[in-house]
Symmetry: C2
Subunit: 305 residues, 2 copies
């Protein structure tokens, strides 16, 4: 399924949803707000990141987050713990950041070393500083009508933000979310539902994913299957948000691989009305939303509007 | 929409899902477990009900719950507060029941008087005693993969229990939940999702509810619209759980009204493979599940298996 071939006879006509440029815009907005807040009340938002072990990919993610904080004026703190740290040591750092008034957001980089209980560790983060929005209390509020979560998880929030900034109507539309992970698929479905879409979650046990997906006006795919969503899965004119970032072998690329989404981009761009590219679609939005959540948290804690 | 007429040419063929009889069975199971627990460790499960004001319907519900507790050997406590009580007075009762070791479940009868904040009051119930399962932390856990709620809300739990006891397969099936309330529709969708159904929530903003509903193998309807779901909405062979209990005028009835569901029963019984009647379907299951949740709570608190 890693390859997909576009029909030769049709021209690509879908609008490209430029996540890189929207993310840039949001970072500019955050920069302006951070500076306004500092001038008005002398407070700079702070994000604490806890990284355990020496996974290269995790280290890269953390470095990118720190760089992004720098670029918008948010202070970043980092705690690097060795792979063989105990759960208690991690909890001690969380507790310290929970109590530190200069920290408005706490992020524990996942995945954790195998000997640690993810649930125990994530639940220790104070809900007021849970900028990832993964706390079950947050998710519960997200699911419930009339309740408001303190934070919306960054990646699904980025997906919806792209729809908003491109003026895509959501209310009353059919939406299909492919994938039901706690960090993307499920909260993305809840967000679409909150905006009055009619939402179906398609997952690994769905017997006819193509048929269901092809009824959708909006598709958000977050499964990690390269090129799974083919042209035939897409209703003409649908809008597609592709969260997948999958490496596939490519001998033409100097790294030996390139990144593709869950959606066969070449085919989608001939059927859909708008589609996010990979890379440069949802990817840059996640960090932008993390910065926004950290700002929101600092504003709330300091009662600054 | 209050009337629905069945075709004259087809015979009713759907199996009747007898909620009354399943509820009876569950109450017998609870009775046996309550008595086993009492003999083994000398503990009797206790349910505290708080009723504020003098709404007749609420008083009836509370009376029925107390009767049901009696019938299975669960101790029931009741706090009746006047309509003009303050929020603080209600919170004091909740706090007392939170601390009372003989109370394993606390239930605040809704709706509350208008001057009270439902969220403040419901959130005050200790999550370990929230037998209604409405706490957002519970709902969050229900939504998340790999997490377990302490309690599942009674009515949606009753719907799924009916499917289980009638051997209806859920995994991989298309399910449509009509209605997205916090107490039925939304948690019912999350429960179906947990059992690997492919779930769509149809609601007031859905543009083509009939078309979507007619794709479902399982329909759970909880909207409170008499006879809204007609025969044409139903895929032949589908299984229907009708949560609606709607009074409609009926001059032939001595009360001047009768109760009908959200689903046109006469039509459904000719198209579906199985359907719950109203009354006698989901209704009796709700209280049975409340008794089960109270038992589960007492067992958990006393570590009794």
């Amino acid at each position: 399924m890693a390859l997909c071939a576009a029909s030769l006879t049709t021209e690509a006509s879908a609008k490209v949803i430029d996540g890189k440029s929207v993310a840039k815009q949001i970072r500019d907005e955050v920069t302006a707000e951070v500076s306004r807040m500092k001038e008005a009340i002398g407070v700079t938002p702070g994000l604490a990141v806890i990284l355990i072990g020496d996974r290269k990919d995790s280290a890269t993610y953390v470095r990118n987050k720190k760089k992004a904080c720098d670029s918008v004026g948010i202070i970043s703190l980092e705690a690097n713990l060795p792979e063989d740290s105990t759960e208690q040591e991690v909890l001690n750092y969380i507790s310290r950041f929970n109590d530190d008034p200069s920290v408005h957001g706490i992020l524990v980089q996942l995945p954790l070393p195998k000997h640690m209980n993810e649930q125990t560790i994530l639940n220790a983060v104070r809900i007021e500083k849970d900028v990832d929005g993964f706390h079950p209390l947050n998710i519960g509020r997200l699911a419930m009508r009339g309740r408001e979560p303190l934070f919306v998880p960054c990646t699904p929030k980025g997906c919806i933000e792209l729809l908003h900034r491109y003026g895509v109507p959501i209310k009353g539309k059919r939406a299909v979310v492919i994938g039901r992970s706690n960090i993307v698929g499920m909260p993305a479905a809840l967000l679409l539902q909150r905006e009055d879409a009619t939402v179906t979650i398609v997952h690994s046990r769905t017997s006819n994913p193509e048929e269901i997906t092809s009824q959708a006006d909006i598709i958000i795919s977050a499964v990690g299957q390269p090129n799974m969503v083919r042209g035939s899965w897409i209703k003409p004119g649908a809008v597609i948000i592709d969260v997948g970032i999958n490496p596939v072998e490519d001998s033409n690329d100097s790294r030996g691989y390139r990144l593709v989404g869950d959606v066969c981009y070449e085919e989608a761009s001939k059927v859909a009305s708008a589609v996010t590219p990979v890379p440069g679609g949802v990817g840059p939005m996640t960090i932008a939303m993390l910065l926004q959540n950290t700002l929101i948290s600092a504003k709330r804690i300091h009662n600054f509007e």
